[in-house]
């Protein structure tokens, strides 16, 4: 049986993908992208999880053998920042698009652009 973490994370990715593929509103597509990103991050974290171990912060009571895998956590920290940056940029593009065409429907925008 597949673990609930994996299932949840992949479900989030698919929901995000669905939004990207099908929705016509640009903001909804961006929301979909954000959801996908969350899903990917969760998936990465859950890959590094070892059952019963604690956070990978070394102290007196926790030795390396007792911590979960720290590498996915470092990866995800980077990915979160990248995700925020791309979302911010995409949102600013959305604002400019709205100012220029007066709509956020991507088919409308495509038609207006010609």
């Amino acid at each position: 049986m597949i673990s609930a973490y994996y299932f949840g994370a992949i479900a989030l990715i698919l929901i995000g993908l669905y939004a990207v593929l099908v929705k016509k509103n640009l903001l909804k597509i961006l929301i979909g992208l954000s959801i996908m990103e969350t899903g990917v991050n969760l998936l990465l974290i859950s890959i590094g999880y070892v059952s019963g171990k604690s956070a990978p912060i070394l102290s007196e009571s926790i030795t390396p053998s007792q911590a979960v895998d720290p590498i996915p956590q470092a990866l995800v920290l980077t990915a979160i920042v990248i995700g925020v940056a791309t979302t911010a940029m995409a949102l600013s593009v959305a604002i400019i698009l709205y100012e220029k065409y007066g709509t956020l429907n991507i088919e409308e925008v495509r038609r207006l652009r010609g």
């Binding site: 993908l17 990207v20 593929l21 099908v22 597509i29 991507i106 495509r110």
Partner: protein, 617 residues
């Protein structure tokens, strides 16, 4: 043995120097010297031909080699002689440094093709030759050059694939080793054992080589580039283009015999008395003769006429090669030599005509025999030679091909060859009368005779046409050395096949006596009567006034009308249509797939991910 690379490289070096030095006079001297070096060295090497004349260098694990045997020497001499005369003609007709560079580069390429010892060298030289001749056409006509280039590229890729197949199976590329492996393979196959190459692979290699060499030789239906490319370039250069570069394709077919003969015989067997694979070549050659000949008769432009005529003559060589007996191959090589000589001469004459008058169409010419007596004399030699009238070289070589075809009992090919000879007269009579005789248009009243370089170049080729015609044995005995045994017996004046003989000298003497008698009768007072136009008859009926009685304009219009149905079937148009539909298809596909909708692209990504997941990546 370091003369061989010098022979190949010297024209290229001279070409670069002529290109860099933009001084008029100096570049001409350098260019002609560069084309003279191979000729001189080839003559110098002739006595040592029996030994091993080889040169190899190692490049990236491949041995690149050059080699001179009797066969390659004959072909290299064709290239060197006709190349030298063409370069000499260019002293008058070349317009800029560009032409010097690329004309000499193509001479390097063609010498490399003939002297190559392995398939890699062969291919490299082949491409140098193609590239340089493409550049020569590009300066004059973009469309013609692109057509030539695309067909050449198709041929080159075909050859590269075939070479790759051979290398993958045999692990070697030098001619003797590949040939040995193929004949060993043929032996195994004959014994019933499993061969190295399956029948399909053999067929594939044969087909690819047929495509590659067929394009370069101008074989039907791959000839469509030739009329445009030959006519749309410097006509002095065309002497080499049509005379020598097309022989690279012919040499390729001979190479096919050297490499794969036994294997192809074992796999495909015989058709009548010829090997099946050769019969295909011969039959396509026969079609080439007919198509080229008929189209040549219908042209209104001198350059086009000789371009088609050149295609037609290559057909004879292919027929000779295809029949595949020692005699017919020797006849084919003989015709390759004579074709290079008379077609080179023809294009130099065309170059002279264009240089002196600036006109290219029959309707603008007429009555030039008085004004250009020397060029006319050369044209007379060339016409007699192409038409196959003794005692010129064209007769000897065509006679050999006819004898070879008849001897093997091949009626269809025989018919094609004879038809081609008849149609040869049809288009040559047009050239003879329209350009040299009849009324002279007033704007070419002050035409002078050929400039000195062109005159010398024509003189060399004209003299060779006569010498090899009167003494056909000179060539035949050289060709016997290729096979290492006597195939055409006789002395230097006589060709003796055992079932037929031709004595060039005797015939010359008799013809001279005949001409003298005719001249005596003529001068002793043959009555001369002026014939008015209304006194001419066609099929027994008097000719009415609406008939066009000048040979200079649309003379073969009735033929054209009679053949209108067949002339509509044009391979040129077919290739063009195929090209257009590919373009349309690509455009439509592009509009549907690359439609600018980001979500569609996201779908593509998602679908690819699903496919990858399904494949378990």
């Amino acid at each position: 043995m370091n003369e061989l690379p010098i022979i190949v490289i010297s024209p290229l070096v001279a070409g670069f120097l002529a290109w860099l030095l933009r001084v008029r006079g100096v570049r001409e001297i350098i260019g002609v010297a560069g084309s003279l070096v191979p000729l001189a060295l080839l003559i110098k090497l002739y006595p040592s031909l029996g030994g091993r004349l080889e040169f190899t260098i190692n490049v990236a694990g491949f041995k690149l080699g050059l080699m001179l045997s009797h066969l390659t020497w004959v072909f290299s001499m064709i290239a060197a002689v006709v190349g030298f005369t063409a370069i000499l003609g260019m002293v008058s007709t070349a317009r800029d440094n560009w032409e010097w560079l690329f004309a000499l580069m193509s001479l390097t390429g063609v010498l490399g093709v003939f002297m190559a010892y392995d398939l890699i060298t062969f291919f490299i030289a082949w491409e140098v030759m193609t590239f340089a001749s493409f550049m020569m056409v590009l300066r004059y006509n973009r469309h013609a050059s692109l057509k030539y280039f695309i067909l050449s590229i198709v041929g080159a890729y075909a050859m590269l694939i075939a070479i790759g197949l051979i290398y993958a199976k045999t692990g070697t590329l030098t001619f003797p080793e590949v040939s040995a492996i193929f004949s060993q393979d043929a032996m195994t196959k004959m014994m019933g054992g499993p061969g190295l190459f399956t029948k399909t692979e053999t067929m594939l290699i044969y087909g690819l080589f047929l495509l590659a060499f067929g394009v370069k030789a101008g074989m039907f239906p791959l000839h469509v580039w030739a009329p445009d490319a030959y006519s749309e370039t410097n006509q002095s250069y065309t002497a080499m283009f049509s005379g020598v570069l097309s022989k690279a394709g012919v040499y390729g077919f001979i190479l096919l015999y050297i490499l794969m003969y036994g294997k192809l015989i074992v796999e495909f067997g015989h058709f009548r008395s010829a090997p099946t694979f050769g019969y295909i070549i011969a039959f396509l050659g026969g079609l080439t003769i007919i198509v080229g000949g008929i189209l040549a008769a219908l042209q209104e432009d001198i350059r086009k006429l000789f371009a088609y005529s050149s295609i037609s003559q290559i057909g004879y060589i292919l027929v000779g090669l295809g029949i595949g007996t020692a005699l017919s191959i020797e006849a084919a090589i003989y015709h390759a030599i004579s074709h290079a000589l008379f077609k080179g001469l023809f294009f130099l004459i065309v170059a002279t005509l264009i240089y002196r008058t600036g006109k290219t169409e029959f309707k603008d010419f007429g009555g030039l025999a008085e004004k250009m007596p020397y060029t006319f004399a050369m044209a007379f030699i060339a016409i007699l030679s192409l038409a196959g009238i003794p005692p010129l070289v064209g007769f000897a070589s065509k006679w050999l091909i006819f004898e070879a075809v008849i001897h093997e009992n091949l009626p269809i090919l025989g018919g094609m060859v004879f038809f081609g000879s008849a149609i040869g007269f049809v288009y040559l009579i047009r050239f003879t009368y329209a350009v040299w005789f009849g009324q002279r248009p007033s704007d070419i009243e002050n035409t002078k005779d050929a400039p000195l370089p062109l005159a010398i170049a024509m003189g060399i080729l004209g003299a060779l046409n006569v010498i090899f015609g009167v003494a056909p044995g000179l060539v035949a005995q050289e060709l016997n050395k290729i096979f290492g045994k006597t195939i055409i017996a006789g002395n230097i004046w006589e060709l003796n096949l055992g079932f037929g003989r031709y004595n060039g000298l005797l015939l010359t003497i008799w013809m001279t006596i005949g001409l003298l008698i005719a001249a005596i009768i003529y001068f002793l007072g043959a009555g001369v009567r002026k014939v008015p136009v209304t006194d001419t008859y066609q099929s027994g009926n008097p000719v009415t006034m609406e008939y066009n009685l000048t040979i200079r304009r649309n003379f073969f219009l009735p033929l054209k009308e009679a053949m209108a149905f067949w002339l509509r079937i044009s391979f040129d148009k077919l290739y063009h249509d195929i090209w257009k539909s590919i373009e349309d298809f690509a455009e439509t596909a592009r509009n549907y797939i690359y439609n600018g909708n980001v979500q569609v692209y996201a779908w593509y990504l998602a679908i690819i991910l699903i496919i990858l997941a399904a494949m378990g990546v």
